[in-house]
Amino acid sequence: MPRVNPIDSDYFKDERPDDKFSVIGKTVQRSDALGHVTGRTEFFEDRTFPDLAHVKIHRSAHHHARINSVDVSEALRVPGVLRVITHRDVPSNWYMVLRLIGIEPNDEPVLAEDRVLYKGEPIVAVVADSEAAALEGAARVKVDYTVLPAVLDVEAALAPDAPVIKQAGTNYFVYEGHHARRLRFGDVEQGFAQADRIFEWRYSSAPIEHAPTETTGCVVVPQSSGRLLIHSNTQAAFFTLDNTALILDRPFTDLQVKGGTVGGGFGGKVDVMVEPLACIAATLTNRPVKFVYTREEEMQVSSPRAAERIYIKDGVMNDGRIVARKVMLYVDSGAYSRHSPYGTTKACAHLPGPYTIPNVYADCHCVYTNRTPSSAMRGFGVTIADFALESQMDRIARALEMDPLQFRLKNAYRDGDLKAHRKVAEGTALIEVIQRAAALVGHELPEEYQAMSSRGAGA
């Protein structure tokens, strides 16, 4: 029997009058479990095709450089190499995956043109009979660079004298005329003025890898109808289809995506990195083409979780009420946008954390640097903010010599509270999970804190 955590049904009992279900709330075995543990699950790479060709990439050797020339003649001489693909072969080379939801501008080339903005940026794709020949061909591409100064720090990138690395003219994403996604609620300076204590600290994080068992990849098979069938491990079949069709400048109905079995996603398979080039290679060679990341590419070239830097300044009363919170948040988007403008807005929506604070001010910056472009990852916009916010809460509780859970309970948001983004809170349960976690580890709470409820006034 699988492990099941107990469900404590004493909480919110009156909100579940209809608890009589036949299969909801029951442990049903996961439908793909047997296939996974017996090795019979079919992943995209388990399909074999006659005449399968392979794509490998020649990548930038520099963080930031102008490309003077690209010489592919040696690559074409490698036995088995079928074709070399440059930006000229990409019908609509500049893209931005979020254009599907109306976010602009297209800021990334599928293959680099006259410059590279990060180490590992794709410049040339080589299609060959074998992986070995494709790798050899990619290794023999010669690129002549003029190295440019690189910006590798979010705050340095925003400095007035920083070299502007983006064609759009700013090293940050522009949110409707603003240099950051803003949050303004109450009067934060007045809040600081009335506070007994001020606490201000800085937090940061390293970029990290999604580390899926199965690396990102696809096999594209030209169909007799002229369409392209894409076997992919994408997390979003239509999102991949639509973005690929836009890059190929082909009708959307020319493409079919089949997937649904993914050896680990965690946000790492929503960037549409392999399908466009595999489709172009399949079209140019009229052969089935596989493009799958090596582990090295997955770890060093595919989008990591963004490195973030977060400053939090809090104004707190001696009794433990937080009366003002100011957050300056910097997401290192790396060289290109990918999903980071969205993730930064999501970070802003999460502030100031699950607490009711009357005065909140935040600037959430989506910053471009010459690091590997970051993008979506599990907890997008929230995970690192939670590290910062909850470290902050612990430090303040200690400074005030308050119990860390009581301090959180005192500030916890409840039903009916107006959040900083001006949505009225409903269905809240922060108080209850704190109470229940305290009980789980035998952390005693005074009666007044045990009596608190997300549904009404307590302590």
Binding site: G25, L152, G263, M299, R378, D394, R422
Partner: protein, 334 residues
């Protein structure tokens, strides 16, 4: 050498669905001649159990056994649009779409059954065994296989349904950040217990204790697997992972395989104990909220806070490496 123990806390919430909405998912459902119900989707199951959970939603709504439900998904030629599997949206969005489709199919199913039984469709009920019965008169019943055969070959009806879930797109006010970002919020509080070796700087996460409020645990074992799998990932983020371990000095020498990119192995997995609370969300499928992403979040600050509790070192940069612990201890002794 001393092994120092500490305990840390963190409490968090997490939004369900794509930020600001505008992320539809559709479902189509149709009955086969012999009582099967095929759910057509284009959604991707990342291994978290989406196919299983949406089959449960369909079976519950139809009032039919799980065995009768077939999920056909992730083919853009045969399945209707889905925005994708991310943003803790799968169970909520696709579950809701499937329920809507199954409700429509159920209505036809009951109408066909009513014709066969010569009763009013409003007087019929299901109990999940495969029969449709007259309320209060259980002997008047018909099996789903006979209903679907009659629909196809006698009444000439398609037992089918269409479903979609869309939270309308919201646009933030640029000046103030006023917005409606989420469908609902799930909640968690994690207590971490760690051991810090003051000679090597190595942090061992001994245990994670969690309380999660997730609206409704549609499949309790899979909810437990999300909590424990995410807990593992949180430990990994907290004390192991970086693609640029020498940054800012250098971005070189980044790891290129799992020998260099370290993550917790079996010996580093903490003991976990968890409790689930259910406060159903008014817009969730049977009240369910998204639990997918958030389970990696609370463990990280809980571990940071436990490290401080253990040895007095406040770490403000992830990951919490042995080097940073030792430098922190040196600073305390200075």
């Amino acid at each position: 050498m001393t092994l120092l123990r500490g305990r840390g806390y963190a409490s968090v919430n997490y939004p369900t669905g794509m930020n600001l909405g505008g992320d539809p998912s559709q479902a189509l459902i149709h009955a086969t001649t012999m009582g099967g119900f095929v759910i057509s989707l284009s959604s991707v199951d990342l291994g978290q159990g989406l196919k299983t959970v949406v089959a449960q939603c369909a079976a519950e709504t139809l009032g039919m056994p799980m065995e009768n439900v077939i999920v056909d998904t992730a083919d853009t030629d045969t399945g209707p649009h889905c925005m994708g599997t991310f943003a803790s949206r799968g169970t909520h969005r696709i579950g809701n779409a499937v329920i809507m489709a199954a409700r429509e199919a159920r209505e036809v199913m009951l109408a066909v059954a009513a014709d066969e039984l010569e009763v009013d469709a409003g007087d019929l009920e299901t109990d999940g065994t495969g029969f449709v019965r007259l309320k209060g008169s259980p002997a008047t019943e018909i099996h789903i296989q006979d209903i679907t055969l009659a629909a196809h070959f006698k009444q000439g009806k398609t037992i089918s349904g269409r479903g979609i879930f869309l939270k309308e797109r919201n646009y933030p006010v640029p000046e103030t950040g006023e917005m409606d970002p989420d469908s609902c919020q799930a909640h968690a509080c994690t207590v971490a217990e760690v051991e810090v070796d003051d000679e090597t700087g190595i942090v061992t996460v001994l245990s994670l204790h969690n309380a999660y409020e997730i609206g409704r645990a549609l499949n309790p074992a899979m909810a437990a697997q999300q909590v424990e799998g995410g807990g593992w990932m949180g430990v990994s983020h907290a004390v192991f992972e970086s693609t640029e371990p020498y940054y800012p000095a250098s971005r070189d020498h980044g790891p290129v395989d799992f020998c260099e990119y370290l993550m917790p192995g079996p010996a580093e997995i903490p003991v976990q104990s968890s409790v689930i609370l259910e406060r159903p969300a008014s817009n969730g499928p049977f009240g369910a909220k998204g639990i997918g992403e958030m389970t990696a979040n609370a463990p990280i600050p809980a571990i940071a806070n436990a490290i401080f509790d253990a040895c007095g070192v406040r770490l403000t940069t992830m990951p919490f490496t042995p080097e940073s612990i030792l430098r922190g201890l040196d600073a305390l002794r200075a």
